[in-house]
């Protein structure tokens, strides 16, 4: 897995690629919570994810809960086919805010 966080105007963009499993999920958790603890809304780009297991999903859920508590925007961008298979299987596709463009997410944030 590769994880790269960039600062956009009013949110952080976390771009993931590769395979997210038990070996890499602690790194994903750290990246997600790092942005949220800094008070930044977070958009997670999952377009280049070709595998994610329940440990990776747990990191995403932890981010969802942390963002909700802190009243920060949080969403998933361009979820790849394999990642969507897992979200659907666990019915989390109905819970996460999923976007097809970063502009859509940015439009949900306070000006």
């Amino acid at each position: 897995m590769q994880a790269n966080t960039t600062s956009e105007a009013n949110y952080d963009l976390l771009t993931l690629s590769g395979e997210v499993d038990l070996h890499y999920s602690p790194q994903l958790r750290e990246s997600i919570l790092g942005s949220l603890k800094a008070g930044k809304p977070l958009l997670v780009d999952m377009g280049q994810i070709n595998y994610i297991d329940s440990s990776g999903i747990a990191s995403l859920v932890e981010g969802f809960q942390a963002a909700k508590s802190a009243k920060l925007g949080y969403g998933l961008l361009n979820v790849s086919g394999p990642a969507m298979q897992v979200l659907t299987l666990t019915r989390l596709d109905k819970i996460f805010a999923i976007y097809t463009s970063a502009d859509q997410f940015a439009a949900t944030l306070p000006a």
């Binding site: 499993d21 329940s54 298979q85």
Partner: protein
């Protein structure tokens, strides 16, 4: 009588850093059995979840080994067996899914395994300290 063909068998250390290599070997085997990349992904996920359960809950992150065996039974049934030698004996109730309407991290592995696989069975082998998890997946059609 059902024809059984051994497709894969290997032993690996029960560590998170091994999972990628396990998936790589299993992916190759599954692609030879199914043309459906979606089915391959689902099965990779379920077997990965089962390995993860052994690492975290059976060995509790202590050193140990796992044996993965894959067999084809007849034209369309693939059987996966994961054997560990952990002291902790996994019980049937530990393989149950949690309610999905509880939105919290963790606890989804058993749900995934049970959703993907057609049969999941814990085989107790107390006499030689082995735990065997057997999972069966029927391919939709022989040419799926």
């Amino acid at each position: 009588m059902t024809k059984i063909k051994k497709l894969l068998e290997f032993q690996f250390p029960a560590r998170a850093d091994q999972l990628c290599q396990v998936r790589e070997r299993l992916r190759e085997t599954l692609r030879a059995c199914s043309k459906s990349e979606q089915m391959v992904n689902y099965v990779l996920l379920a077997v990965g979840e089962a390995c993860m359960n052994i690492i975290q809950h059976a060995y509790k992150d202590e050193p140990g080994d796992i044996i993965l065996e894959v067999e084809k039974h007849g034209g369309n049934m693939v059987v996966f067996r994961l054997t560990d030698f952990a002291q902790h004996k996994t019980r049937g109730e530990e393989m149950r899914s949690r309610p999905l309407d509880e939105i919290r991290p963790g606890g989804l592995g058993c749900h995934i395994i049970n959703e993907v696989m057609d049969e999941v069975q814990l085989i107790e082998c107390d006499s030689d300290c082995r735990n065997v998890l057997q999972m069966k997946k029927r391919l939709r059609t022989p040419r799926d």
